[in-house]
Amino acid sequence: MDEFIESFINEARELLFQLESDLLLLENQPQDNEVTNSIFRIMHNLKGAAQMYGFDDMQYLTHEFESIFDRIRTGELKVSHDLIDDTLKGKDILLSMLDKDSPAEKDEDLVGQLKSKYSGLIDNETAGIEEKISDKPSGRAIYCILFSPEKEIFERGLNPDRAIEEAMASGKAKIMMHEKKTSWEKQKTKKICQTTWEIYLYSAFTATQIEEIFLFYDKEEYRVFQIPEDELDQNLEYLDFFRNNYGKGISAADHVKECISGLADGAEEIPVLNAGKEVDERQSQGKLSHVSGSTKEFIINVSSQKLDELMNLVSELVISGASLNAHATRLNDSRLSTLIENIDKLTKKFRKNALDLRLIPVRTLLNKFNRQIRDLSKELNKEVVLLVEGEETEIDKTVLKAIESPLMHIIRNSIGHGIEPPEERIQKGKTREGTLKIAAFYSGANVIIQIHDDGCGINLEKVKQRAIEKGYISPDQQITDQELLKLIMEPGFTTSENINLVSGRGVGMDVVRKELNAIGGSLQIDTEKDLGTSMTMKLPTTLSIIDTLMLEVNDLHVLVPLLEIEYCYKEIRENIYERNSNMLQYKNNLVPFVSLRRKFKCPLNNHKEEMVIIINKYDKKYALIVDDIIGEHQAVIKPLGGLFVNQPYFSGASILVDGNLALILDTNYLFNQSVLN
């Protein structure tokens, strides 16, 4: 059962996520019925599922929203900013309710508020229905429903029988099945639907309520007609319909008459007052998996463990392929070589495909910001238009997660300090609304995310002043704009007091840079006074594969991430070890060095020259002394496992083409261990 609850929570999260973007869309296009319907459906589905899994508070709240959006659907209520605000608030509360461990505060307040705010429109359940019933004197009507689901309806996870049962339960019904080719039972086993139902219903439901029974079906799949009892003979729409479809031979009106005769008798059997409630409960069992119509793409959730397993198998395949290739070359069989070439190509495609599975579009992250940008600009009385480009650009899930907070920092800064208040913008001859543009695109093996605002830009004069005050530069020092901008990202350059001092770009830019560095990314800032600021993030597409340089230390292959290497050169032994201080000379500077042979307790070699690798990570500069450089290697990182927690020099291993292993050096740990101590 827990498993089901978990899957419900996951699905509910996704629904709420969808809800938020729908709400924001609705705010811009209040007339869009499609969006209103989608929101209604989400609330409805959530309500049903919440009831099934015992999330009572959630059921209660979604019910209120469902009612509100039903009124919007029917045009009784208009979309307002206030309403969107309240619903967004509601969404947050719903989200917190999913967290069963920390029960959310009771939401009586919000429900009460909603009720009073949209009162007259939402009353309690019974009142609402009574009102509807009073519209029609008898409270009941005869409906004709024509229901013909598409052939592949089962693939959508729907069973037409359910809808029929539901319709039957809502009143007194007469049902005729028009089966094509085979019987319905047979169609069901074959999972092909070729049946049309003709349902006559005498019910207390309104036409809308009846349509709700077929909520999950497309508009083309069902028609609901209300049949006016006394005017059957008139040439009405439904009769036209009949004539076109079935009316050959017999009179359509007669046919309908015959069908509905006797239906209206014994009406007292039909429940009236509770009808609305009942149907709600029944519908609430509707499947969560069938979400709104806007996302047609079919998404499957797969645990990352399975993906890792797939990656393992793929790497194994690559390695086996390589040794097969080597063997074939020895045999010198041309036919075999062609075959292997083919397999090689397929394997490469397979590998790329497997890697792609870990990638998700940046859209999933940017959608989150939509909301925050909206709230923030409101809070700060600024008007901001968000433009997004390349939201389908894909990036590793881990990377995407890691850039969430840096991206938020940057966006906050852009709105808070970059974009000016409307009045000021008009004075400057700019448009009233500021524009925040987020663009994502590929660049080689990297993904670039650029955040551009057309605000006031960074005041470089003030940055310079600040840098002088802080002692980063001397007053008469020549410094380029780019260098000044780099200073902003210095740790300690920004303190809380100078957020206001430096007009803009204060908050934790060093943190942003650090977080990006940690995943192998970088940040560049460009700014121009009154034209705006661009922040450009350069990110690796994936973390499980990194570009490394392979080094050799006494037969051992060691990998160092290419990004961390500043420079490599050969140096004569004596020049390295001449000082006792473990420092060597590099570009007019002394940098500490670590000899990997010594570190790994290998016998010292007697080479005349050694290879010096200058490592530069988080601005910690030091040198590695190794035997030789072997070359670049695209490393698929694999963890070493629990046995090696005791020796943290290596952060993992990678399988080489020949099946051998190379160890990935943890340069950071090495620095802390060897240089600082």
Binding site: N312, S315, K397, P639, G641, Q647, S651, N660, L661
Partner: protein, 176 residues
């Protein structure tokens, strides 16, 4: 800890191998494959028991030197047989390789035939053993793989404070 139910009257197959002069047996359920050690990567500064790592079907598998584990003095014998075993480590399966001198054969016996080892005079921890059996006038020690290859014990993290362990693990953690 995961518990297996054992039918003590059912014959089970065991891999019989030697380390030094002693004979050992491991139940075949725990054994994945017996391979030749040809590509071993030594990991500098790792524990004494760990000879290195090898690539076993795309998995990084540590190879354990059982001579060291059992405090035997290793004579210059060239041994290159590795038994790849599946070890249960707090609900997780971990693959490990055991370097042994020679795999002799596969033997069958019933669980109830296993006798308790007197814990006097053993060079190693008696908890490593299920017990011993007598077969063909030889004594064969039946190993408990999960105990011999307990990850936390092999990694010697018992000697460290909790803080140090946390730090080490943090340093070691792979990005997801």
């Amino acid at each position: 800890m995961h518990m297996k139910t054992i039918d003590i009257e059912k014959k089970k197959s065991y891999v019989n191998f030697s380390i030094g002069k002693e004979n050992f047996a491991i139940i075949v359920d725990d054994v994945l494959e017996i391979i030749n050690l040809d590509q071993l990567t030594h990991v500098p500064n790792s524990s004494d028991f760990v000879l290195g790592i090898l690539n076993y079907r795309g998995n990084i598998v540590p190879v354990i030197n059982l001579h060291k584990r059992f405090n035997y003095i290793q004579h210059e014998v060239r041994c290159d047989t590795v038994i790849v075993v599946n070890v249960m480590n707090s609900e997780n399966h971990v693959l490990m390789g055991l370097l042994v001198d020679e795999v002799t054969d596969v033997i069958e016996f019933e669980y109830k035939d296993i006798r308790t080892v007197p814990d006097l005079g053993l060079k190693y921890n008696p908890a490593f053993l299920e017990g011993f059996i007598e077969m063909k006038e030889k004594f064969i020690m039946v190993l408990n793989v999960n105990k011999v290859l307990s990850v936390s014990e092999l990694a010697e993290i018992n000697d460290l404070s909790i803080g140090e362990i946390a730090k080490k693990i943090e340093n070691h953690l792979q990005p997801e």
